[in-house]
Symmetry: none
Subunit: 222 residues, 4 copies
DNA sequence: AATGAATGAGAATTCATTCAT
DNA sequence: GATGAATGAATTCTCATTCAT
């Protein structure tokens, strides 16, 4: 579970650049935060728990982050860049847009299964840091939408679709499917599934394919 | 904003049946809680704020509810029954299933616009009371699914759809659309819209209609 | 060491009027605060120490005061009204203004000896609550000045004196004399004096009398 | 604002003599401390702020001073020697003792106007380092008193005055006048006065002159 | 000499819950 | 039924000081 930063100019809470040792400590705090937030949610998590998990003293936290909220925001942003990375990687092998959507969801679900923090943390962000939450969704939706727009231009999906609305709908669909079939699902021994049930993924992909496909017959769009 | 209980045998925290005066107090507490939770979210809300809003003394709260969590759960359940009522009412006028889905969403969005608490409160429930959250979603999804199953039997929607997966996807899609276009949207004066933008609703309905429509007669496409 | 309030409409931190029990608790907190601030100064004092001294729980403090600063301000104001009371009582028996000034100082020193908090607390107020400090000094100075003005009108003290400047000078003189000869003075056993050394008081009174006395001779000026 | 030390054998916290570079660093720390303490008071000041202001690293502080309290004491002592220097310089031109007192006050006020730190810092010393505070006052008072004693011997001031008490009284009077008319006074633009209002100085000098002047015999004054 | 990361005790403050009236 | 004073555990955050580099 490495934190690969979108934010290479890593700096402390006071804005100073960090020494190597400092960067290492900051990284440990972020990883601990991911774990703790994922396990307990934002409100049950505490800075004490994060620092204990990270193996540093309480005061050390404040060398790197201003507050619980600020590490939370850093984490959401980090997770966001990782999930998008995971999705675009998954979509790379697609031969057409509709297939790409399916693969994108697969990447999304894979990331979710491996990082349940994403869900928990993001959904709690609504009250904690609405702007960050918005940013998170918008970034994903923007990516979706760009793909849908391109596909529309190429005639691979129906021209009449409102790509923005569709992108938000797909985002929401994916989120709830992930919650239902990954976070809530338990096998016989009460363990969460390592990956999403292929049947569910197929059902989801089929649903999307049907919604997106261009209107039949001789001449398609508009 | 009346609380019309699904739970008519209203009783106090101690399990005793309530006098008329008691029922009135309980109702005022629930209404205050809806307001306060909607405004502040679960964690920022406090029992003092709820009782102040309700115009009763702090101690009175505990005559009616065991804890902060318990009034929260009561509220989620109440809201759930109200939103489902709102949706089925909206769907009543439909002439076919696909139209019904669109109308159902309209009802859902209308309720959301009028009761933003639903969103906020429900999404926070994940950590506060996961079982209640599950129950909330499952109740709605079950309704959806029953409709989809019936429609499938009647050939009004595609037979190959996995109705359970579709129901969860639609639930998620509706939730995020509502969040994006109702809760986050602001007009020029910074006021939230009273109802959802018809274009968005149309986009959403079209999206769903495309996804659900049966495959064209003689030869299914693709 | 009773707190006799200038502020009879005693109310809690939230502004509500208090029950009898509440008033009693508030009083105990103020008395404890006087003790603790006097012993330790503002910064070393802590709310825990105050509540322990008062024999109430930590949280109880916040039912009555917003913050450490707010109880401090309440205390300064209370002490101010008490010291002025003590001074005017002492001056009551005087047959002329110059004698009154001497007796006023005596009252001031007596109060200081009995309530060392006044000094300590007031002098620390400069950074903690400058407005309160100003108010404290101004109230005393205003009293002084009014007396001096009246005496001037009656020809009991020199007409050429700038009564405002003199009032501030006397206030400062009294303060430092009190500090030096009451707070810092220790007898053979290391105990503070119960009252000021009469010789010092005489020296001080003489000094003031000389400064204030009207210019000699036949006809007082103006 | 140079720190001209009374303590030429400057040494580090460990007692070692300092190199030239070390002396420079120490000086910068003291100057920064004067600024920071003056602006924020003792408790709000922090070592980080002092080192940042001085442009050195945090750890460097402890090469030169044992603790926050120790730099504070060094500063009080430095300020004390400077204010006394300023006063004796001002008194140098006097032709008699009573005039000298007036000029001394003028010097005191001038220093105060230029170095508001003196006040703020000294008055906070009561709890932080009582011994240092005592020392500060005693040094000034001793100077005063020596002058008064000499004047008494020469018959320039009244023989019956208790010079020690008078010296303390004058010290206190000067302090409060300075606080009131320099530190609290603000012109129309909210800026502090660069020097004391001449009318106040005259009022103060007159007050002192009256108090000190020898008793008439046949006809002394004016 | 200088640096700055790390420490951890201690401070203020909040709030769900209890209970005597 | 209703009240509201009291509780105290838990939380966030600060900062003087230490020490390895």
């Amino acid at each position: 579970m490495t934190i690969h930063a979108d934010t290479p100019p890593v700096s402390s809470a006071t804005g100073r650049p960090l020494t190597k040792r400092g960067q290492e400590t900051r990284r440990r705090l972020l990883e601990a935060a991911e774990q703790v937030f994922a396990d307990l949610g934002y409100h049950e998590a505490s800075i004490v728990k994060i620092t204990e998990h990270a193996g540093v003293a309480l005061g050390t936290f404040y060398l790197y982050f201003d507050s619980k909220q600020s590490i939370f925001e850093a984490l959401v942003i980090d997770l966001n860049s990782r999930v998008r990375h995971s999705m675009s990687e998954a979509m790379a092998g697609a031969t057409n847009r509709i297939e790409a959507e399916g693969l994108g969801f697969e990447g999304f679900f894979r990331f979710t299964a491996e990082h349940p923090a994403l869900y928990r943390v993001v959904r709690e962000a609504e009250f904690v840091s609405p702007a960050t939450l918005k940013l998170h969704y918008e970034r994903i939706v923007d990516g979706y939408r760009a793909g849908l727009d391109a596909a529309q231009r190429d005639g691979e999906i129906a021209a009449e679709l409102d790509t923005e609305v569709v992108a938000w709908a797909l985002m929401g669909a994916g989120e709830l499917i992930g919650m239902r079939y990954l976070l809530w699902e338990r096998d016989a021994e009460g363990r969460p599934p390592a990956k999403i049930d292929p049947a569910v993924l197929a059902g989801m992909s089929g649903f999307i394919a049907r919604a997106l496909r261009p209107d039949t017959t001789e001449g398609t769009d508009r």
